[in-house]
């Protein structure tokens, strides 16, 4: 057992809402945000996606950013989410020079690079976008909109990037390197990774069906979410409302294949186990697992196996919220962590939409809306290359 890390603010943007309130209503109302492609310019209209329902121009407008400014969609979504998190945690600009900011992304400014690549090679048009290509730039751009942070860095572990940003932030607080660190991730859909996932033949042309016998791939999504992590000392001193507790976290490597998960879910098993061990929470105390559950045949079997190994015959209720949002890739770890916090605060189990029929060797996900008092939730995020992470989020209870 170690000193608790408090979560004193959250912000979330995804296909099911531009803030926590909208996300909660959509989760409880069981409406998917996945639908026909609108904003991304691609030939692949056959794939359903979970887009954030704003154009870049509309986001700039909401943020008060001039239309001539050089921005990327990943950074813009990040700013919307960060704004909500800062407000909820009552963090003012004067406080930022003492606060760290850690963001996860993999595509970075690829949305611009893929539009202007031939210009970059052939002429000087759009050359002002070249410097926003890299992942680090997205984090800097997001942070800069609000002021000068004490520390800024970027995690890039594919689909577990945001979860790993949360882990670094927690370690910083535990080391006394900062009292407050804002952590999470952001990722927009790009033609680059839509085509990449398509080349790996893991996109479904129908709405995704995690843990279902008929599952046939994932739907891409996009979004951003940030969590304000804070030490007990600082939260008490500021007298700020505590939203939830990050009581454990684990990171392990499946070390199996660059794009496939091992049949026995070794990495996932280790990550979940470590998260529980850090927290000193027993497997029987976990009330819900927000699974990575992408809907690919491979992931869902591997993740199910990992759960069976860790929990035996007593697997807690589990579901994937990806049918709501699509797979938000690098941002999924923090977006789903915020969903878990909403579940803790409002006492409900998010439904695994689109489920109809049990798969072989797999779990049966939560498929009916259930009100339930929840104390501990495991939230999984796994990335290519077997970068597996798991977070244990717990309800805050006044002692």
């Amino acid at each position: 057992m170690t000193a608790p890390i408090y979560i004193t603010g959250c912000g979330v943007v995804s296909a099911i809402g531009l803030n926590q309130k909208e996300s909660l209503e959509t989760l409880m109302g069981e409406h998917s945000g996945v639908g026909q492609l609108t904003y991304l310019k691609t030939e692949h209209k056959e794939f359903p996606v979970g887009e954030v329902k704003l154009s870049d121009a509309e986001m700039r407008n909401r943020l008060g950013i001039s239309d001539n400014a050089i921005t990327t969609r990943t950074a813009l979504m990040g700013m919307l989410a960060l704004d909500e998190a800062l407000k909820q945690a009552e963090i003012t600009p004067e406080m930022l020079p003492e606060i760290g900011f850690i963001s996860g992304t993999t595509v970075g400014g690829m949305d611009m690079s893929e539009q202007f690549y031939l210009d970059y090679i052939n002429n000087d048009a759009h050359k002002e976008y070249i410097s926003v290509h890299d992942c680090g730039n997205c984090s800097e751009m997001t942070a800069k909109h609000f002021g000068d942070f004490a520390f800024v860095t970027t995690l890039s572990t594919a689909c577990s990037s945001a979860a790993n940003a949360i882990i670094l932030g927690a370690n910083m607080i535990r080391c006394g390197e900062a009292e407050i660190v804002i952590v999470g991730g952001s990722e927009c859909i790009t033609k680059f990774h839509l085509n990449g996932f398509n080349s790996l033949m893991i996109l479904d042309t129908k709405p995704c069906r995690p843990f279902d016998a008929t599952r046939n791939g994932l739907n891409l999504g996009e979004g951003a979410a940030y969590l304000v992590l804070e030490s007990e000392k600082s939260a008490k001193k500021r007298n700020v409302k505590i939203q939830a507790v990050l009581s454990g976290y684990g990171n392990a490597c499946d070390a199996f294949h660059q794009t496939a998960s091992s049949p026995d879910g070794e990495g996932a098993y280790r990550a979940m186990k470590e998260a529980l061990e850090i927290a000193g929470v027993k497997t029987t105390e976990v009330d819900y697992i927000n699974a990575h559950g992408t809907g690919t045949p491979n992931n869902d079997v591997s993740e199910s196996q990992a759960m069976m190994r860790l929990f035996g015959n007593n697997i807690p209720p589990a579901s994937s919220t990806k049918p709501f949002t699509g797979h938000t890739t690098s941002a999924s770890g923090s977006i789903e962590a915020v969903f878990c916090i909403l579940a803790l605060q409002n006492g409900f189990l998010p439904v695994n939409l689109n489920y109809s029929q049990a798969m072989d060797d797999g779990i049966i996900p939560v498929h009916q809306s259930t009100k339930k008092d929840l104390k501990h939730i495991l939230c999984n995020a796994f990335g290519f290359g077997g970068n597996d992470s798991s977070l244990l989020l717990s309800k805050f209870e006044q002692k």
Partner: protein, 342 residues
């Protein structure tokens, strides 16, 4: 929290100097300002041709430096693999972007995509060394390696790990060099631009160590006064005053704007402590600070500083170094301080 000591057991590089060797200390390869790709060793020893069929240069170099660093460390396995890469697997990113832009959205090769993500490097090392431990990748401009080091450094202090393989890997293609030059990101006047792969093994065991990692901090720019305060606090936290530092290892590169800023800031922060450089030998890259770490560790081990590393002639000395403070400045936005001691 523990006050566990952290030692650097090994440090290996592939760059524009002779690969996997410290030949540069006595007999460096010298370059005129321009872009150069690394001098590659034969990779057959590290990866079979059939396994290498999908790997870009960056992955082969990462495997070679990692395997050599692990071998030299004497450790069979490490508790964590953490990598920093500013731009990631550029070669495969370029192939995929190029095909996407020229040939359209049909019939794209999955290999280019799956080997384009930044975390391919760390995970490949894990797959090849069968390592299920902590695994992460940082991509934050010129402090990517520093961020990876910071992650490991915190976990040592929290007693979560007792060994780690920390890497810094960046490759650069001719096409991306031209693009980034056009964008004002790299390729400045009077500067050598290179590629770099660095792997270091850290451990809480001292045996055969190159040096000790005493302190590490990353600072986001908030003005020179704040920087002064943070540097002072860093030194104090490590029981040092400015005059205790033998050498400040800087990223002075030949590019006027960068060098002037370095001179001004080091003067304000460290007075007239002797300044060293390494980018005149290794060139600049997003992983240059990893090379800086390697250079400092090797100088401490061998007990001398090559003369061509001194920024000012008046500072040239044969004195055996006891410590190095690596002062990394990335675009004037991010800074890092790394204290290595004998």
């Amino acid at each position: 929290m523990t006050n566990k000591e952290i030692y650097v057991l090994s440090a290996k590089q592939i760059s524009i100097q002779q690969p996997l060797s410290e030949e540069w200390m006595n007999n460096p390869t010298l370059y005129e300002p321009a872009f150069y790709r690394s001098i590659d060793p034969s990779f057959k020893e590290y990866v079979s041709p059939i396994e290498a069929r999908r790997m870009g240069k960056i992955l082969k170099r990462a495997l070679a430096t990692s395997k050599e660093a692990l071998k030299a460390s004497g450790l069979e396995t490490v508790d964590a693999i953490v990598t920093g890469t500013g731009y990631g697997c550029i070669e495969n990113t370029e192939f995929f972007l190029d095909a996407l832009s020229k040939e359209g959205e049909q019939l794209l090769k999955p290999t280019y995509f799956m080997q384009s993500t930044h975390n391919t490097i760390s995970s490949l090392i894990a797959i090849q060394t069968k390592n299920h431990g902590y695994n992460a990748t940082y991509a934050h401009k010129g402090i990517s390696f520093d961020s990876a080091l910071y992650d490991a450094y915190l976990q040592f202090r929290l007693n979560k790990i007792s060994s780690a393989l920390v890497g810094g890997h960046d490759e650069m293609t001719e096409t991306f060099y031209q693009i980034l030059k056009k964008g004002g990101v790299i390729g400045f006047d009077n500067e050598i631009c290179g590629e770099a792969a660095v792997s270091v093994v850290l451990s809480d065991k001292q045996e055969n160590a190159l040096c000790k990692l005493s302190g590490h901090k990353i600072i986001h720019q908030q003005g020179i006064e704040s920087l002064k305060e943070k540097v002072a606090k860093f030194l104090q936290g490590n029981g040092k005053t400015c005059s205790d530092i033998d050498f400040i290892l800087t990223g002075i590169s030949g590019y006027k704007e960068n060098d002037e800023a370095y001179m001004l800031e080091t003067k304000a922060l460290f007075g007239d402590r002797p300044l060293l450089k390494y980018k005149n030998l290794f060139g600049d890259s997003f992983t240059a600070s990893g090379i800086g770490f390697y250079v400092a560790a090797q100088c401490l081990k061998s007990g001398f500083v090559p003369r061509n590393m001194f920024v000012n002639e008046k500072d040239i000395t044969d004195k055996k170094p006891d410590n190095f403070l690596i002062f990394n400045r990335s675009d004037g936005t991010n800074y890092s301080l790394t204290l290595l001691e004998k």
